[in-house]
């Protein structure tokens, strides 16, 4: 070892070896560049630095023990990563974390992909000497996609930062102080009652089992074991490039074929491909785009495949909802087409057909529960399992995935083109649309842009009839930035693809937990390789999609296609609550509520409310009406919204509200179901 050797400028020594400093943001990055994988919980290269877990401690000569993540690398630093005190401190820190909550591995859903567990093994923590008394906090199982278990939280803040910094939402934050600190949604509400869009990136970065994917495996097993049910399954594009990771088959190109074999052995009657529905989506969305372009209306068109993005739009950008493509996502297109056509073909009742999806996504669980995706209460997609859950089912059945002979999918919905496959990557939908519209596979600057991994990339595509300005974004914080640019008129686009998760669906929260940053790139590359290996790569060349139009749908955007493949959106409030009572309430008073949510506030609702309060005072209506300020009547595009005795006024002004109150006082208003908007 050479601690005494002279240092050249711009280098430091790590455990006696010289390492150059090449613009790394912190000492941790320099150390990892030297192939020393220092343990961390709270450090993610894409998030801000928090410095909470203290596992990356190192000894720096002259400075003692410091956290590498929050130390600037300086030339001449002498860093030691493996001294006795450093090892001991890391171990004690980890031991304290293990003592801080419920870390009972065998019963934890994260077991096997838990950072806390693997670091405890790696650092050789063989007993926990501390026994912290603690009360058990309740689980939050309110949402369709995620389960929050505060008892397993180590307060690293990864979820807080990913939601704020990558998704621009800030659903979770630290609450309270000292030993009482808890990560929680606003006002300790349930996840389902706040602005969470179920993207699940919090679960993807959570190093323990504090936020996990909701498990629906038991329900699927029950359906498979029910002899009266015919269970069919669709597999999303991104699943096939990630499932193998759970079985040591990361680079195996036959994972999809082996998965088909596994699904049949698990008892699924038919195995289909969501990529078929993705091809169908391209036909519909491409046609919709060209029609809007011809009319020059509702541009830019925003893609609608990503349910987290759709919910984000519904909550945050109500005024722009008409711009969202009316196409259902591929999952839901598949579901409605399958439920509409398969019962006839298989000679069974719709009630006995069970459609299961295998998705890389937690938000898809929530999407499948949307009431508009059901016919008379029977959902188009009955159950959504994530890649993780399918992996568990296969493991549970004892199937050796790597040993199974690859099998082909069932027809007709198992047939797809490369265009459907690349849906799994950020930029994939755009590339598939370009292929379909231009009609050829291309290379060149436009596709180079579309395929890059930057947060937002833009390109201009030359088409007959003029240029098409394209933007592709991933991460909802990037989407928000783009929306603000479009709103302010700083940018003009014609076509915008948005995926909530970094990297698109292949980086979805339902995928196996990615233990390093290279995983996402590997999945993206694998999808491209699969695309390149396909004979057909343009969606309109999918002959069975063509057949489906002939047999069932007519042509793209036809009324029948609209019935089965398109949808509508609704404005959604972000946070549940009762509003602020501004007058005496109760008795026979007529309820009047004025929305003071963001959009209505911008449109002057606070002033309207003040004027209304003065009116009530002047006219001595205190005994007759009760006034509340509320948040969001889900009509943000038409604010300010005011509700009088269940009747909602949009674009309300004081005179109109006074009139309505006067009518209500005279008993001239039709009674309505309380609390529901009436137009």
């Amino acid at each position: 070892m050479s601690a005494s050797e002279t240092l050249t400028p711009g280098t430091l020594t790590i455990d006696g070896f010289k390492v150059p400093i090449q613009g790394e943001r912190n000492l941790l990055e320099v150390i990892r560049k030297a192939h020393i994988e220092l343990p961390t919980f709270c450090y993610h290269s894409e998030l801000s630095i928090y410095g909470a877990c203290r596992l990356c401690v190192v000894e720096v000569e002259g400075r003692g023990m410091i956290a590498a993540c929050s130390t600037l690398p300086e030339p001449g630093m002498r860093v030691r990563t493996q001294t006795g005190p450093v090892r001991e401190l890391r171990k004690v820190n980890l031991e304290l974390l293990l003592a801080s909550g419920d870390h009972d591995c065998p019963t934890c859903g994260k077991s096997g992909s838990c950072k806390l567990q693997s670091l405890a093994q790696r650092l050789g923590v063989d007993k926990v000497r501390f026994n912290a008394p603690r009360e058990t906090k309740p689980l939050d199982t309110s949402s369709h996609g995620l389960v929050r278990d505060p008892n397993k939280c180590v307060l690293c803040g990864d979820c807080v930062r990913v939601c704020q910094e990558i998704q621009g939402l800030g659903v979770l934050d630290f609450t309270r102080r000292g030993s009482q600190v808890t990560v929680a949604p606003a006002f300790d509400k349930a996840m389902a009652d706040v602005e969470c869009v179920q993207c699940g990136q919090c679960a993807a970065v959570c190093p323990t089992g504090a936020i996990t994917v909701r498990q629906d495996v038991d329900e699927v097993h029950a359906a498979l074991n029910d002899p009266s049910k015919t269970v069919v399954v669709q597999v999303a594009p991104a699943v096939r490039v990630a499932l193998g990771e759970l079985f040591g088959l990361g680079d195996d190109t036959h994972v999809m074929g082996r998965t088909v074999a596994a699904l049949r052995r698990l008892g699924f009657h038919k195995v289909f491909d969501t990529a078929f529905a993705a091809d169908l989506t391209i036909m519909e969305e491409g046609t919709e785009f060209l029609a809007r372009r011809a009319k020059g209306e509702k541009l830019p068109l925003f893609t609608s495949c990503c349910p987290a993005w759709v919910q984000f739009m519904e909550q945050e950008y109500a005024g722009e909802l008409p711009h969202l493509s009316s196409c259902r996502s591929p999952q839901q297109m598949f579901g409605s087409l399958a439920k509409d056509t398969l019962p006839r073909e298989l000679g069974i009742d719709r009630a006995n057909l069970v459609v299961v999806s295998i998705m890389p996504c937690t938000a898809k669980k929530s999407e499948a529960r949307r009431p508009e995706f059901a016919v008379e209460g029977s959902p188009d997609v009955d159950f959504v399992l994530t890649t993780q859950e399918l992996g568990r089912m296969i493991q549970n059945a004892g199937l050796a995935l790597g040993e199974l002979e690859p099998e082909g999918m069932d027809m007709p919905f198992g047939f797809k083109t490369g265009g459907g496959i690349i849906f799994g990557n950020s930029g994939g939908v755009t590339e598939a649309v370009i292929r379909n519209v231009v009609g050829v596979l291309g290379e060149g600057p436009v596709l180079e842009q579309v395929r890059s991994t930057r947060g937002r990339r833009t390109a201009v595509l030359d088409l007959p009839g003029g240029e098409v300005r394209i933007a592709v974004v991933h991460g909802l914080a990037n989407a928000r930035e783009l929306m603000e640019d479009v709103r302010a008129g700083r940018e003009h686009y014609d076509f915008v693809e948005v995926m909530a998760c970094p990297g698109g669906c292949s980086g979805g929260a339902g995928q196996p937990v990615a233990l390093d940053s290279r995983t996402r790139q590997r999945r993206a590359d694998s999808l491209r390789r699969l695309d390149a290996s396909m004979d057909l790569r343009v969606s309109k060349d999918n002959s069975l999609v063509t057949q489906a139009y002939k047999d069932h749908l007519g042509e793209p955007n036809s009324p029948e296609a609209h019935r089965l493949l398109h949808t509508h959106y609704r404005i959604r409030r972000r946070i549940q609550g009762d509003g602020i009572a501004l007058t005496e309430e109760g008795g026979a008073r007529i309820p009047v509520s004025v929305c003071v949510g963001t959009s209505c506030h911008i449109r002057g609702s606070q002033k309207l409310l003040q004027a209304l309060l003065h009116h009530v005072e002047d006219q001595e209506l205190g005994e007759a009406v009760e006034i509340r300020a509320t948040f969001c009547m889900e009509a943000c595009d038409r604010g300010p919204s005011v509700r009088v005795a269940g009747h909602t006024l949009h674009r309300a002004d004081l005179e109109a509200v006074k009139d309505l109150i006067a009518k209500a006082l005279k008993g001239e208003l039709e009674p309505t179901e309380a609390g529901h908007a009436c137009h």
């Binding site: 704020q164 939402l169 800030g170 659903v171 979770l172 934050d173 630290f174 609450t175 309270r176 102080r177 929680a184 949604p185 606003a186 006002f187 300790d188 706040v194 602005e195 946070i575 609550g577 009762d578 509003g579 602020i580 009572a581 501004l582 007058t583 005496e584 003071v596 949510g597 963001t598 506030h601 606070q606 409310l609 003040q610 309060l613 003065h614 009530v616 005072e617 001595e620 205190g622 005994e623 006034i627 300020a629 509320t630 948040f631």
Partner: protein, 168 residues
Amino acid sequence: MEATAPMAQEAGRRFEKVIQILDSHHRDRTRLVPILQAVQDEYRFLPEEVMTLVATSLGISPARVYGVATFYSHFALEPKGKYVIRVCDGTACHVKGSQDLVDALQSRLGLTGARKTTQDMMFTLETVSCLGACGLAPAMVVNEDVHGQVGPDQALEILDGIRQQEGM
């Protein structure tokens, strides 16, 4: 119900005040703490929906506002009484018998460790760690008024004085 009109006025006035507070801080999100302090002065606590209104007006998430509001013990998330009595239980006051003070006030007000505010919303009784008035131990603060070297009897006298003033 003579109280109706003044109460209606009161709630409306408070709401207007919140809007004024937000405006006077230019709806600047870095001013969250002083905004919450001013809002609490109006409501005597931080109602959930008012926090949501503050978040909406500042363009930050309600979770962030809640995080800040729960961090500082000065902020109250439940309604407090018109008179907030804070008995110091720092080392000096504790040694000088602050617990006797607390016991006397609790029994007179019908409060317990868990129930800190009287049903008529007149009194809230809290203990605080140190008022910085150790020379006056045991010390007690009623809203903004500091009382030093308070024994249980004096504490009850102060309480009765307030009640008289309020016509109770």
